[in-house]
Structures are given as C-alpha cells and as structure tokens.
C-alpha cells in the first residue's frame, strides 16, 4: 500500500489468542523471562507495545476476559514467539510463578500501548532510554530493531541508562553489546544498586555502582540533538524521574513514559 504515516496512538485492532508457554528463564530472585508461542499467526505489534496475559482459562464463546496483567513485549516483532519479563511482586505474579510451566496454555490479548519509540521521535532526534529493572522490556524489541540490517541508518543516536538491583537482573547483555558494536552512536550506562560489579561483563558498556540519576543523565544529554527521554520501570521511579526532568526544563512532549494504572 501507499506510504505509511507515523503518528502516536497506534493500536488499531487488538486480538485475543491462546498461546503455549515455550520456555521460562529464571534470572534469580523472582525475575523471569517467559516465551510463548501463539496459536495460529503471531499477532502483529510494534516495539514498545504491551500485552495482557491471563493464566486462567478464557472461553472465547463467553466473551468475558478473565483477570490478567499487562507486560511489555520483550521480543522483536516479526518472529513466531512472544516474550515477556516479569518480576514476582504481588499475588497475581506469584500465581504466575506457580502456574507457568513449559507447555501450559495461557491467554494473551495484544497489542496495546503508545510507548512506541519510533512514533515518538522526529527525524534525527536523539533517544534516551531509561530503564529500571524489568522496565528494560519494552526497549528490547527496539534495540533488536536497531541492530537489524533492515533498519534505516539515518536515525539519531540512542543512549541506554539501565539500572538494576542485582547483577543477575541485567538482562540481554549480549544484545546491548551487539548494539554497542553495530549501532553508530549507541551508548549504554549500566548501574548496579545492591551488589558489587564483580563478574558483570557487558563489553563496551560503562558499568558503575549505585542508582540511576537524572542529574547525571541530564548532564550527559546536553550534547544530544533535541533528545526524547523514555522512562520505563517501577511507577515510583517513573513519577520521580518525570518530575525531575520537568524541573530541569525538559518539555513534556520530550518525556515519554510507560505507565499503566
């Protein structure tokens, strides 16, 4: 069809689908990556969007969707499987931890969400990705796309600030290294809050102890071209970082947050 127009607010037609759990990768202390294979065609989505997952049975003939939780899609578009990363924090994620096993059928509905990086930036604007813990999930498909040979190269720079409590919570280090090696201008700063840095290797990345700091991020972003700041992580972090960015004079239109009620 004739040329597409990029705008915000993209989720024209979400669908519900059964999916089989293919694998569960534990990252320690209740953090998991779950990979699922949808029945039939894998629904299309855009990097940054999220899905609803229910471990309860859903009767499509009955219509009413059971209790579910939302998770950013942590796998790139265009492949057969869908992945999410979750951290056990409440009763539902506890239930997920107990129930999810390879071979289990779950119900998904997707895609949702407007946290689509490509749709939020103009030509040549630079991108600052700020991730707290599993908040890195929505950036994974974007980073995969950045590394892709099909990606147009006429884009701005991307800088990733990624903080986690423990070393084992730094997910997809090989992807970060691929970006550092293959994407012009890409930079990654990794912060470990509660452990020493011993043994953590992400070649090319700057690794340091302590927490993500908006002061540092803001200072380092001064050389960037009209950067857009993306915030993903725990709600308290998002709220606090957003407020700090506003106080530093960043226009609201250049702050994008991945938040749900």
């Amino acid at each position: 069809m004739l040329g597409k127009i990029l705008v915000k607010d993209i989720m024209p037609n979400p669908i519900k689908t059964e999916a089989t759990v293919v694998s569960i990768t534990p990252h320690g202390k209740g953090v998991y990556t779950v990979t699922m294979k949808p029945k039939g065609r894998t629904p299309r989505f855009k990097a940054g969007q999220f899905l609803h997952l229910s471990v309860d049975n859903y009767d499509p003939a009955g219509g009413f969707w059971p209790e579910s939780r939302v998770f950013s899609i942590a796998s790139p578009p265009g492949i057969e499987t869908l992945s999410i990363i979750y951290s056990v924090k409440g009763s539902y994620t506890k239930k997920m931890e107990e129930a999810l096993k390879p071979g289990l059928i779950v119900w998904l509905k997707l895609p949702y969400g407007e946290f689509i990086i490509d749709s939020c930036i103009h030509d040549r604007q630079d991108v600052v990705l700020i991730a707290g813990g599993t908040g890195v999930s929505p950036y994974i498909p974007y980073l995969e796309d950045l590394c892709s040979s099909e990606r147009p190269k006429c884009i701005g720079r991307t800088v990733l600030y990624y903080g986690a409590r423990l070393r084992s919570f730094i997910l997809f280090p090989e992807l970060i290294t691929r970006c550092l090696n293959g994407v012009e201008g890409f930079q990654a700063d990794i912060y470990i809050e509660n452990e020493t840095l011993d043994g953590l290797t992400v070649p090319g990345a700057r690794i340091q102890g302590g927490r993500l700091s908006i002061d540092n991020i803001h200072n380092e972003s001064k050389d960037l071209n009209d950067p857009v700041f993306f915030l993903s992580g725990p709600p308290a972090m998002i709220k606090c970082f957003k407020q700090q960015l506003i106080e530093k004079g960043i226009a609201l239109c250049n702050i994008k947050i991945d938040e749900w009620e």
Binding site: M1, L2, V7, P14, I15, A61, V70
Partner: protein, 449 residues
C-alpha cells in the same frame, strides 16, 4: 432400577446440534438440479454448504451477538488472504466505503486530512455508495469517463481531470476488473493524492501479481450475497496504514477513542488517568470520542458465516474465472453484435460478472435482449446506476465533469448489461444462457422479433 441420566456437556450438545444442522442442510438445500427453461439462472447467489450453517448456529449458541471471536477470526483470515496489515469488519460494503472515506478526514492526519470543498475523482458509471460518502462529507466529486470493454476509468481522461483542488481518487475495480493501477498510482504520487480502492466487486483480483486493495491507502470490500463471499450483510475496510486503521476502527465503533472490545474495560491501562480534549483529566476513556463515528459493526453470527466463506474463497475465484471463460467462448460467435469484456492489461480479474455492451445498429437494443432473457428465466443486470448523474438523487449535486465528457458512461447506461459468473452457476446453466441469446439473435435475423 432407575435410570441415571447424565446431563450432556455443552460441547456434547454443540456437537449434536452441529450434526443435526448438517442433516438439515442436506434435506433443505442439497438439491441443485437444473431444468432448462424452468429453473432460473440467477446472476448471483449464495454458495454455501453445511459448514456455514453449522458455524452460524454455533455462533448463535454463544449468544454473544455483537462482534466477537468469529469477527476476530474473520479479520485475521481476511488479512492473510489480502496481505493487509489491518482489516475491520463492518455491516456492508457501503459502510466500508463510508468508514474508509471518513478515515481520510481524521484529525489524526493533520494537514493531510480531506476537508469540505476538496475534489475527489470518481466515475459516474458505477454503484452509488462509492460516491455517496464524498457528497455527504461536503466534497466535490469530479466525474471521469470510462472505457467500454474494461468499464474502468479512462486513464488519459483521468490525467486531464486533476485540478488544484483534487485531493483524492475513489474508484471501484468495476465488476472485478482492476483499473490501470500503474497510471493511477503514478498520479497519486505525483499530486500527493489519497487513493481509496473500492474492491467490493473485486475480492481476489490481481494487478501485476498483487492483490487489489494493496495499492492504495485504504480499501473496501462487500459481503452482500451477490459478492465473492457473503455473510448476508457485511463489508470490510482494510489498510496497511496504522493511522488510517486507528481512524477506521474509531469511526466504525461510535467514534470512540477507546479500543476495548465488547465486555472489556481498561485494556489500555489508562482508562481513568489520561487527558483528552478539554475534558477533565481522568475522564472515562470509554466515553471519549476522537472521531465523528457510527456503530457499523457486524454481529458475530454474520462473521461466523464469513469465516467458512473465506475458506472457500480460492475455489470461488477459480469458478468465477471458469464461468467467465465459458461465457466468452459462447459469445465469441457474435463479434459483430457485442463488445465483450476485456481484462485490464496486466491484471488477473476475479470477475464479479460478465459485462456485455450491445453494439449500435445491430437490430436490437440492450433492453430488448435483457427483457427476452428475463422472460426465459436468465437474470441480467445493468451496470449498476448507469450514469449516476442522471439518477434522481444526483441531479442537483455539486460536481465537476472532466473535460472529455461522459460519452461512454451514457453509452453504458443505454447499451450495457451483465450476466452472472458466480460459483453456483453450472456449465448447463451457462450453456442454456448462450442458447437463449442465440435464439434471440436468430429471431432478430429472421425478422420474428
């Protein structure tokens, strides 16, 4: 001893009902014998088997009624078939045209949105609901003449018709025959126009190896019983464009910004926390309207029929092509009397019908021939509205006619008709049709008319 009756499960009951429905089908619908001169030869009709009936009943047992699991399945199958990124079921092809056109007026498009007073190029030799959304939305249709034989827009006249106010082209692939998309797309790009492909009569037609509907910005289809597949009433809007898809869905669903399906709430996770227009922050997203819309959804029962019809579509298309070929073979003996249909160069039509134009001075008129055929139980149809500008509803509309005039359009109004090629037609019915035409021609030649 008492007998213990174990209640049947829902699935067991569904299976029993499905089996009964299959049995019912074979009693009610199976007999399709044709008796020449007694059984009508329809120009179109539903072609189905027990699967459609079973699917319809299965959906009715859900009693979900509004769009649901079958609607989703249909939209997925439709996307797979057409290669479109997004498909939205609506309740008719006319609604599809309305939604597609209204999507081009979406505020999401900013400066590129169509506005009142813009000109939209179309043809007058067609179906009214390709034109109606243009008029209803306060735009000015520009009518371009068509070619006899392809019955599509004349590409040379199209080039001359584009003016400074022209913003869109809205054309149907007439009776399944794709128009010259090379020329149309070239003009669309050159003049930065929107292109809406009305594929209501052309599901499965290809141009240079690509499905029609995949060339323009947005496209439409119809599933009325006369069409390639049916769900009774139904239609579809399809596009690859994210923005137009968002607009189309909103316009179909009351104009609301929310995209929750029936029975769902807060799928966006921001139902009570976002800011829209000048509404108070947190105003319920379910009742936020970002477009001027309608409710044009289908019921799930219609979609359930459509799911089974989609599975038969490749077979239907082949049957239509074969019937077209048989009619061409039959008509080939009268080259001096009729202009036969001609596929646009580079196209592979999934024909809706077999259009024929009676040549001038042959001793009979179109209407005399079609009256004869009608009296001998062979249905024909005129090429829809003929020249729409001569229809009562359109005589006073604001419009422009392209410099070349509408000579061929008037000729079609007077001299063209079409016969059916639908997959329910048998070889015997087509042979009878050709025979009936032959008899009429013989009568004319013998002066017995």
């Amino acid at each position: 001893m008492g007998v213990i009756i174990v209640p049947k499960t829902e699935n067991e009951l569904r299976e029993e009902i499905a089996a009964l429905v299959g049995e019912y089908f074979s009693v009610k619908f199976k007999d399709k014998s044709f008796i020449a001169g007694t059984t009508p030869v329809h120009y179109a009709g539903r072609v189905f088997d027990e699967k459609e009936l079973q699917s319809l009943v299965d959906s009715s047992l859900d009693f979900w009624l509004t769009s649901g699991r079958y609607s989703q399945e249909f939209e997925e199958l439709f996307c797979e078939f057409t290669g479109a990124e997004y498909a939205f079921l609506v309740n008719s092809g006319s609604s599809a045209n309305l939604v597609a056109f209204a999507s081009l007026m979406s505020p999401l498009l900013g400066e590129r949105a169509l506005k009142r007073g813009d000109e939209v190029i179309s043809v007058a030799a067609g179906f009214p609901t390709t034109l109606n959304p243009v008029i209803q939305n306060g735009m000015i249709p520009v009518f371009v003449d068509v070619e006899i034989g392809t019955y599509n827009i004349n590409p040379e006249e199209l080039k001359k018709a584009i003016g400074p106010k022209t913003k869109a082209i809205f054309l149907a692939h007439t009776l399944g025959n794709p128009y010259n998309l090379d020329v149309v797309i070239e003009l669309v790009k050159k003049h930065d126009l929107w292109l809406i492909e009305d594929c209501c009569d052309a599901l499965g037609s290809k141009y240079k190896g690509k499905m029609v509907g995949s060339f323009g910005h947005i496209a439409t289809c119809s599933f009325y019983p006369a069409h390639h597949i049916t769900m009774g009433e139904g239609g579809c809007v399809f596009t690859n464009d994210d923005t137009l898809a968002r607009a189309a869905r909103a316009i179909r669903d009351w104009g609301r910004d929310c995209y929750c399906s029936g029975g769902e709430s807060n799928t966006c996770g921001k139902r009570f926390s976002a800011q829209y227009g000048t509404l108070p922050k947190g105003y319920d997203h379910k009742y936020v309207y970002s477009h001027i819309g309608y409710n044009l959804k289908v019921t799930d029962m219609q979609a359930a029929i459509g799911v089974e019809q989609m599975k038969k579509l490749p077979f239907f298309i082949e049957r239509r092509k074969e019937n077209f070929r048989l009619l061409t073979e039959g008509f080939s003996k009268w080259p001096e009397l009729f202009v036969l249909p001609r596929a646009t160069e580079g196209s592979d039509p999934s024909w809706f019908a077999y259009p024929v134009t009676v040549k001038e001075g042959v001793g009979f008129t179109r209407t005399e021939l079609t009256d004869y055929l009608n009296n001998h139980l062979v249905e024909t149809r005129n090429l829809f509205g003929g020249n729409l500008l001569r229809q009562p509803a359109y005589m006073g509309i604001e419009h422009r006619v392209a410099p070349g005039g509408l000579g061929s359009t008037d000729r079609i109004m007077n001299d063209t008709f079409f016969l059916g090629v639908y997959p329910g037609l048998s070889r015997a019915q087509i042979e009878y049709t050709i025979m009936a035409i032959g008899h009429y021609i013989a009568m004319v030649k013998n002066g017995a008319k």
